[in-house]
């Protein structure tokens, strides 16, 4: 038996989210863009720990995945925290439009963008 029960350390990330593994909006994509709102910036002082860190960090727009990487959080935890903050109006999320992968105009735009890379 290992000295430490592996289940304990696996549980720990979710203590940050009061045990919830599913974000309020559980469909929040990991590439969703997150930016701090005026309300979020103003109420920074009333937020604690990771929530405050996210509001500080997202003064510059970035993806949920970037938030997770920069704050050293698990991606699942980050989705929960960002969804909470968005529900409270502290951050604004910009999600990819539905079915972008069926949108030929968008795909061709990405093709042109890649072709411009030299």
């Amino acid at each position: 038996m290992p000295e430490q029960d592996p289940d304990v350390s696996l549980l720990r990330p979710y203590l940050l989210t009061s045990g919830r593994a599913q974000p309020i909006d559980h469909t929040l994509e990991i590439e969703t863009q997150v930016v701090t709102s005026d309300r979020g910036a103003a109420s920074r002082g009333s937020l604690t720990f990771e929530r405050r860190d996210i509001v500080e960090l997202c003064r510059t727009t970035m993806s949920v995945a970037e938030v997770a990487a920069r704050l050293g959080l698990h991606i699942g935890v980050t989705r929960v925290l960002v969804a909470d903050l968005a529900a409270l109006g502290h951050v604004i999320v910009c999600r990819p439009a539905a079915a972008l992968n069926q949108d030929l105009g968008m795909i061709e735009r990405v093709i042109r963008g890649l072709e411009a890379i030299r």
Partner: protein, 205 residues
Amino acid sequence: MDSKPSAEQQARPVRQRPPTPVKIVIAGGFGVGKTTAVGAISEIQPLRTEALMTSAGAEIDRTGHVPSKTTTTVALDFGCLTIDDDVKLYLFGTPGQDRFGFMWHDIVHGALGALVIVDTRRMDDCYPAVDYFEKAGMPFVVGVNLFDGVLAHDLDDIRWALAVNDTVPVVTLDARDKLSVRDALLAVLHHTVRRVRTQQTSNAT
């Protein structure tokens, strides 16, 4: 064709408008060059985050006991590219291990397509990714990574070994080379365009 910005978009200052994110998934076995490929073309130094993946314990299942769930932490490497003022392309390098369907859905959902990188010395490693994308109906391209610039096998042999459909493009790439990675990503997008056109045609008839 470009869509014209709406009046609402024009009224808002450009800098405050978050870009529309799109993504391409880069999959394959461990050490196959996913992170190298992301790093070769990403504008930012590839970032790493961790995800908890839950999978059913297949071994225990077979003995007739209640299937236990195992949870594993896996690394997810990613980078991004600015396509234009409004569009940002994310590249997610996903772990290719088997039995992680739960998290794969989260990563893959909504992707424009996928590039499955193959190391011909360890072809088995990419089977889970190929299986997953076939089942998920996600357009994907097989990219054979030329580690030393030499293709050890004929591409048709590789296609046969992977048992992929004839419509799935098999290309070569050097994961260290920016333009080579760009071309592999373009192959993915052109494949997606063909798939969408085919679907639209069959829906129309």
